[in-house]
């Protein structure tokens, strides 16, 4: 079943397995089984189409050895019309499979593999199920630590979709005095023509990072990666060297914490990376929708982020942040100023948020300027020991104008609003109602109402049932965003974990 790409890698894995088996067999002689199943059904009444998705993850461990497999069943009534999870055409079968040996200082895995070097500037192969992102590789991963030294290697080709690249990478780290860590990283990617499978060129990334504490009051981190792309075709001029840089300083000053981040990317549009955004990730729906994170331009972007958090007392916490980014050559500025107050009144909690964001986004041949002013508030009010009400109100005023036509004289103005209320019954049930309305002339609808019911069945099953109309738009999770299509109908989700 497992397609082992590199024979030497398989041989190495076998040798490592044998070594660990000799060292550890008998210590963990009980077999552990882990399984999780996610079943989702949704029916869109607007387009009269439905989808059934089911994902089953199973892994079995014995001692240092683990084998895992992921089954996926995706059955859309018409994949061209309705596919909220972005799985594409109908799929039934094994999505991922892997075998892993995990010793105390040696780890090896074949099959579907993941890895992150540094802070993700040179390489981050990862999965985020919230936004259905997965750039998993089919290949080999290994790591060894010996005292203060560490080494990680990875190799393979993309596991999902048509093959479009092969990748090899390595990272070496050394723990230094004072708690600092220094690392060197290198990644070699050969992009492939998806039609012919032939190599198109060579994409090389090489860099270093250093991070650690300066006493009890400051944490530091810096990483710099150079990118060089050499095409194979003679008529392709290639690109001058590009780079990616990231730095972080955090100060701990009693009740005050200050976080600062700096980023600089130039000619750095490459697969397999996921560096820090140096922009705020929000919990607010409207702020997430208008976040600059989805519009990051790795071909030319630099800027910084600063956030101060101050605990006034045990009941009050203040957050203020400011971020600014722009393109060195194209000038696409984006700024965001954000403030938050979190206040506890006994068992009640109130959070008030306000943000002002401005950015220019290239849309076709036009540069569109957006200004958004957002106010948001959440109150969590216990009604009894086990019953509570959670209410959130968000409102966002938007001004939109075309810089080419100087339409700022008559900007497009509209307001988006959301009110949501959730009644929680601990420990296993909640009912939610979300009403959203907008006077945006760009929307076909002007109101959306969604009701949902969540129940935990036993300690290992969770059922969610929702019905109504969802607006869609940008959905972000941990700094990764995707566009979700509007939806009208019913959704059922059943999650089982063992």
């Amino acid at each position: 079943m497992t397609r082992c790409l590199a024979l030497p890698a398989c041989a190495a894995l076998l040798a490592i397995s044998t070594h660990i088996a000799e060292a550890q067999f008998g210590l963990g002689d009980a077999t552990q089984i882990q399984a999780a199943n996610q079943f989702e059904f949704y029916y869109d009444t607007d387009v009269d189409e439905s989808v059934l998705d089911d994902r089953l993850d199973v892994s079995a461990s014995r001692g240092a050895f683990t084998v895992g497999v992921t089954f996926l069943s995706h059955s859309p009534s018409d994949p061209n019309v309705l596919d909220q999870n972005g799985f594409g055409p109908q799929v039934q079968g094994i999505r991922k499979r892997w075998f892993e040996v995990d010793g105390s200082d040696v780890r090896a895995r074949v099959g579907d593999v993941y890895a992150t070097f540094g802070r993700g500037l040179a390489l981050q192969i990862f999965e985020d199920q919230t936004v259905d992102f997965d750039n998993v590789l089919d290949g080999f991963y290994g790591s060894v630590t010996h005292g203060a030294f560490g080494l990680e290697v990875i190799g393979g080709s993309n596991s999902i979709g048509e093959p479009f690249q092969t990748l090899k990478g390595a990272q070496g780290t050394v723990d230094m005095p004072g708690g600092f860590t220094f690392g060197l990283e290198g990644v070699l990617v050969d992009p492939l023509d998806t039609g012919t499978g032939e190599a198109l060129g060579s994409d090389r990334l090489g860099g270093a990072f250093l991070g650690g504490p300066l006493g009890d009051y400051v944490d530091t981190y810096g990483e710099y990666v150079v990118r060089r792309y050499d095409p194979i075709q003679e008529d392709d001029p290639g690109l001058p060297d590009g780079h990616g840089a990231y730095a972080n300083l955090t100060f701990y000053l009693g009740r005050l914490q200050i976080l600062t981040e700096y980023k600089d990317f130039l000619r750095y549009v490459t697969e397999n990376i996921n560096p820090p955004t140096a922009f705020r990730s929000h919990t607010s729906t409207l702020l997430n929708r208008g976040s600059h994170i989805a519009a990051l331009r790795f071909d030319d972007e630099r800027g910084g982020f600063g956030e101060a958090t101050f605990a006034l007392n045990d009941q009050t916490r203040l957050v203020g942040s400011w971020s600014k980014t722009e393109a060195r050559h194209g000038n696409y500025p984006a700024t965001e100023a954000y403030g938050e107050i979190e206040q506890w009144f006994g068992h009640s909690e109130i959070v008030l948020r306000m943000a002002e964001t401005e950015e220019v986004i290239r849309e076709g041949a036009s540069d569109i300027f957006f200004e958004r002013i957002t106010h948001s508030g959440t109150i969590v009010q216990p009604l009894s020991d086990y019953l509570s009400l959670d209410v959130t109100v968000e409102t966002q005023g938007v001004q939109e104008s075309n810089r080419q036509t100087q339409s700022y004289q008559f900007p497009l103005e509209y307001r988006d609003n959301i009110v949501s209320a959730t009644l929680n019954k601990a420990p296993n049930m909640s009912w939610g109602l979300t009403y959203e309305w907008s006077d945006s002339p760009k929307e076909e609808d002007d109101a959306w109402l969604w009701a949902d019911w969540n129940v935990q069945v036993g300690s290992r099953h969770q059922l969610s049932l929702g019905a109504g109309k969802l607006r869609g738009g940008q959905l972000c999770s941990g700094g990764v965003c995707k566009l979700v299509q509007p939806f009208e109908g019913v959704k059922l989700e059943f999650l089982t974990t063992f």
Partner: protein
């Protein structure tokens, strides 16, 4: 893997059947293995370094008493509602042998925010960084927060996803049943005295 052209109804029925089979398959994995195998619901052991620089090993912590393992992120709203409540439980029952061990699952994009996030709130419980989601994968974490209450013999007593205000009271009841009665009494008296 693509299937040959089937009618819309056939595809839907096939998908439904596959979903049911897989769901039932998952549902039956544990009971089938649990028969005669007491280890089926054992919590996977691990060793990890905390934000405070200390090394935490689950099996070592369990020698002191039950452990509540909580997976969270800085951008998860219910996580932020739950953690102050868990911190109160940690403070109250720490001397009784209870350990609240939390796992910050922020990835490389937001990992820099974890430490100031924890320090600004003055949380005293240990926090492990799991930016590569290795520990999360070991515990099949699919959403945040996800929590496991692990008894002193290493068994998963309960697993919980999400947070609803009041969950901490249910957890406290479960926790009390796992702690020695005299230690619980001392913790309650100590809390009463501190007020």
């Amino acid at each position: 893997m693509s299937f040959p052209a089937l009618s819309r109804r056939s595809r839907l029925l096939f998908g439904l059947a596959a979903g049911i089979v897989l769901t039932l398959g998952a549902t039956h994995v544990r009971p089938a293995l649990a028969e005669g195998d007491e280890s089926a619901s054992m919590a996977p052991d691990f060793t990890a370094e905390g934000l405070d620089g200390k090394t935490y090993t689950l099996s070592e912590l369990l020698k002191e008493g039950p452990v509540y393992l909580d997976f969270w992120t800085t951008w998860c709203k219910p996580c932020q509602q739950a953690l102050p409540k868990l911190d109160e439980l940690h403070t109250k029952y720490e001397k009784a042998g209870f350990t609240l061990l939390t796992v910050a699952s922020d990835d490389q994009k937001t990992i820099a925010k974890v430490k100031p996030h924890v320090k600004s709130r003055g949380w005293k419980f240990p926090v492990i960084l799991d930016s590569k989601r290795e520990l999360g994968n070991k515990y099949s974490v699919r959403a945040y927060p996800t929590s496991y209450l692990i008894s002193q013999d290493g068994k998963v007593v309960s697993m919980h996803q999400g947070y609803r205000p009041g969950d901490e009271k249910v957890l406290e009841e479960e926790l009390i049943s796992l702690l020695p009665a005299d230690a619980v009494k001392a913790a309650s008296e100590s809390e009463g005295g501190s007020h």
